[in-house]
């Protein structure tokens, strides 16, 4: 438990990181550093997008799998790491 906390904290304290969210396989947020409404929105939308991205990758090559997804909107960057059961989302504002 402490390890998990520590790792997440380490990520959170990087320069420019706005928030981190841990989401389970169904898209329900487990742990977050943002407010509730934002968290829920991010979790729901990114969960769907990750599923789609993963299915795309696997369609192209069944032996391949999605390891990391980076989305670059204008204002900041969203990074998603999928797993079989969980999803970790980090939002960072890159160097200004």
């Amino acid at each position: 438990m402490a390890e998990v906390e520590e790792t997440l904290k380490r990520i959170q304290t990087h320069k420019g990181v706005i928030g981190t969210i841990v989401v389970n396989a169904e898209g329900i947020p487990i742990r977050t550093t943002l407010d509730n409404s934002t968290t829920v929105q991010y979790a729901g939308l990114l969960h769907q997008l990750t599923m789609k991205a993963r299915s795309t990758v696997r369609d192209l090559d069944p032996q391949n799998d999605l390891t990391f997804l980076r989305i670059r909107p204008k204002k900041h960057e969203i990074m998603v790491a999928p797993d079989k059961e969980y999803l970790l989302i980090v939002i960072q504002n890159p160097s200004e």
Partner: protein, 804 residues
């Protein structure tokens, strides 16, 4: 005819004159010769037609039959007319001559034969006795050659052609070959004489009524004759070949279906996201799987985050580069171009313009306040004349540079006036005698906009409200400002939110050490918080003279200020408003005050607080206090020979102060579009354009506009392509200048650079302050040290040791 020779293969032989040209028949020349019968017989024979004497190399001789048998040249047997040539061997002839001596036929030519060079001699049978004998012997080798050649040629010669004589044809009787039969068959002729029939009828039956009846054709046999069709075998044609074209088209299929009609219905759903309860979250967090997951993915994240920190991959260097470049590359003229200039001979002659204002909403309309160009004494001396000449505010429009569009009449010279920000039809002005004047131009707005055709005379609008003389200032009102529409000030001086959103309050200042707040609403709307000894605004119904709108009837002549802020001994010339403070510069001194009225506990009177800060920076009267349109806390002040930029909150001094210029600075203004640019007007008619990012020790450019002192500068943004600067001078002329591209378009990050620059300057000031303190401290320490040393020296005992 006789000259012809035998042209066989180029050989030319000269024959005797007796020869005819028929020998030329051998020459191969295609000349038809009239031939006689002799030629027709001569096929391969060389025969002369007429022979008189023999040539020299031929010797005719006669051979007996015995000789003939001996040599094999019997007449008409061995040698014939067709084959008259016989080759004889010379030895045989010699032998014969020896054997038969005189009997031999060859004896008369014995010598000749012996002389013959070759071995064989040619004997020619001369059947026609051309040379007079039956044989002749060819004597020379040349002749023999010749003859032999002739033989060959003759054999090859084609038979001569027969030429039919050409005659003109004569008409002959036509011989029928049977072709006229067809034509005769085609022509139609009577084969028999024509038959004539004559039919007559009895006379009495003429004109008798006719009766028709029906008869069924089927009943009687042979009632009708029909031609039944039948297949005629003659005409059955079988088409063997057919030429058609084929085109494919897509399969067209049309079908229809009927759907069930449904009508739309409004429905809505409401959902909320699923969430875990707290303990469930805790459970998840505890799980081993999560730990593993987080550990495994954390490294990826760190790499990615670090990448982002290092550099921004999506930054478009190319685009950023181009922005900077375009600024320098421009060869455009950086000067302010004269756009238009307004002066009115009638109204602004010998007057000066004290204030300019652009109309906030109508494009191309600008208002100027025209005042007399007189000093104080002159004013007093000429006061009666002045009363006759009313003071005016002129409205100019770009469409008409000669005549002003509108005139506002003022009770006295107006030094400053402003359009109401929320309602541009209301204009407030402050006069020389301390009165505050209000105009309402809503009736003339269409004219200003240019939609109405103008009458010949410029319309004059009288003011619709003016404050009472005893209530107003005691000195000319030098500056007047509308309070922003979002808040108002109560009687106590506390700013409150203005619920209406329209501007209702005005602040004025004058050199009589007063700043007054005025409210333009009717008194009953005013919040009377604590109406102790505060002046109340009385209402008095007034008649409506001169067609003036009744907008401010309630204020006319009785208008009193809401709040009067009295500052001790400070004359005010300009003021610039902030939420709760004012800058009131005067005589080179900048005063920063809070206008809140405080209640003095002792006397119960309200008085204003002392100014919090005073600065003496400028050497002359400060004539401009302006906030930067980009930075809320940066203020520009212009006075004397310098200008200074201040930041609110920084109380040490100005953050930037310019060097002294040659001429007095009379007015200044920030640029509306570029955070780093400001315009300073000088007393010699120059405009200095300062670009603080480019140079701070001198203006970036100077441009002369007019010959006299510049009294007011106001920029205005008409459109993104046109920025205008209105400049007025002491002579009463209003110049409108166009700001060039270099001065109106900000460079990239200009605002950021400026704010950084200001911060740097603030830091510098702070640093200086610190240094000063430090120096002071150091000095103090040093002095203390010195003192201590001195006293120490004095106090030190002297010990004498005397040795005996």
């Amino acid at each position: 005819m006789g000259a012809g020779g035998l042209n066989t293969k180029g050989r030319h032989t000269q024959l005797g004159s007796g020869y005819l040209s028929c020998t030329s028949a051998f020459s191969g020349s295609p000349q038809p010769q009239p031939c006689g019968k002799a030629l027709m017989q001569a096929t391969g024979e060389m025969r002369a037609i007429i022979m008189q004497s023999h040539p020299n190399d031929i010797l005719p001789l006669t051979l007996t039959s015995a000789t003939q048998e001996l040599f094999g040249c019997r007449c008409d047997e061995d040698v014939t007319g067709d084959n008259p040539y016989k080759i004889l061997r010379k030895e045989d002839i010699v032998q014969d001559m020896r054997m038969r001596a005189a009997v031999s036929d060859f004896s008369p030519m014995k010598q000749l034969v012996l002389d013959y060079p070759e071995d064989e001699l040619l004997l020619v049978y001369d059947r026609d006795f051309i040379y007079g004998s039956s044989f002749y012997l060819v004597l020379t080798a040349d002749a023999k050659e010749r003859h032999l050649k002739v033989i060959e040629v003759a054999l090859e010669r084609e038979p001569s052609e027969v030429f039919a004589a050409q005659k003109t044809s004569e008409p002959q009787p036509w011989i029928s070959l049977g072709s006229e039969q067809e034509i005769e068959e085609e022509s139609v002729t009577d084969s028999r004489p024509r038959l004539k029939y004559r039919i007559s009828r009895v006379r009495r039956e003429f004109g008798a009524p006719i009766f028709f009846s029906d008869r069924n054709a089927m009943e009687t046999k042979d009632g009708f004759i029909e031609c039944t069709p039948y297949q005629d075998k003659n005409f059955s044609l079988k088409q063997m070949e057919r030429h058609t074209g084929v085109q494919t088209i897509p399969n067209l299929k049309s079908s229809s279906t009927q759907t069930q009609w449904t009508y739309p219905r409004s429905m809505c759903t409401q959902y909320e996201p699923r969430e875990f309860s707290e303990e469930k979250k805790e459970n998840c967090l505890q799980s081993e799987k999560l730990k593993n997951f987080v550990n495994s993915v954390a490294s990826r994240f760190e790499i990615a985050i670090q990448q982002n920190e290092i550099m921004d991959v999506f930054f478009d260097d190319w685009k950023a580069l181009s922005e900077e470049d375009s600024g320098y590359g421009r060869k455009a003229d950086p000067h302010l171009k004269e756009y238009q200039s307004f002066t009115d001979l009638h109204f602004s002659k010998e007057k000066t313009i004290s204030n300019i204002n652009w109309h906030p909403t109508i494009n191309g309309v600008i208002a100027v306040a025209v005042t007399e160009r007189l000093s104080f004494e002159d004013r007093i001396n000429g006061s009666t004349k002045l009363l006759l000449n009313p003071s005016l505010i002129l409205f100019w429009s770009f469409s008409d540079p000669i005549n002003p569009q509108l005139l506002l009449e003022c009770p006295d010279d107006v030094f400053s006036f402003e359009f109401c920000p929320s309602d541009p039809n209301i204009i407030v002005g402050g006069c020389m005698n301390g009165q505050v004047v209000l105009w309402d131009i809503s009736t003339h707005v269409e004219q200003l906009q240019g939609t109405h055709k103008r009458e010949n005379e410029t319309p004059v609008v009288r003011y619709c409200a003016v404050s009472g003389i005893e209530n107003g200032h005691k000195a000319p009102i030098t500056d007047i400002q509308w309070l922003p529409g979002t808040f108002e000030v109560s009687r106590m001086g506390v700013p409150m939110e203005n619920k209406n959103g329209i501007c209702v309050q005005i602040v004025t200042c004058a050199p009589d050490c007063c700043v007054m707040f005025w409210d333009i609403r009717a008194p009953r709307v005013l919040q009377t918080m604590a109406d102790q000894r505060k002046q109340k605004v009385e209402e008095k119904p007034l008649e409506n003279p001169h067609g003036v709108p009744n907008t401010f009837k309630h204020l006319d002549l009785t208008w009193k200020p809401l709040i009067r802020v009295q500052h001790i001994s400070y004359c005010k010339t300009r003021l610039q408003l902030v939420l709760s403070t004012t800058f009131c510069p005067q005589d080179g001194e900048l005063v920063y005050t809070d206008w809140k009225l405080e209640k003095d506990n002792d006397s119960g009177r309200l008085f204003s607080a002392k100014p919090s800060h005073r600065f003496i920076i400028h050497d002359g009267q400060v004539n401009t206090v302006r906030r930067s349109p980009f930075f809320k806390d940066i203020i520009l002040t212009v006075g004397g020979w310098t200008f200074a930029i201040w930041k609110e909150g920084v109380t040490n001094g100005p953050i930037i102060q310019s060097s002294c210029s040659q001429k007095k600075c009379t007015v200044g203004y920030w640029s509306q579009s570029r955070p780093a640019v400001l315009f300073i007007g000088k007393e010699d008619g120059n405009i200095d354009v300062w670009d603080l990012l480019e140079k701070t020790h001198e203006p970036s450019q100077t441009q002369n506009i007019t010959a006299t002192q510049i009294t007011c500068i106001k920029p205005w943004i008409v459109s993104s392509k046109q920025h205008l600067l209105a400049v007025s001078d002491h002579l009463g002329t209003l110049h409108i200048l166009e700001i060039p591209w270099t001065l109106r378009s900000p460079s990239s990050n200009e605002k950021l650079s400026m704010s950084k620059y200001f911060e740097k300057e603030v830091d510098r000031l702070v640093y200086f302050e610190k240094r000063r303190e430090m120096r002071a401290k150091e000095k103090k320490d040093y002095e203390a040290e010195e003192l201590r040393k001195k006293t120490y020296l004095i106090k030190r005992p002297v010990i004498f040791i005397i040795e005996k």
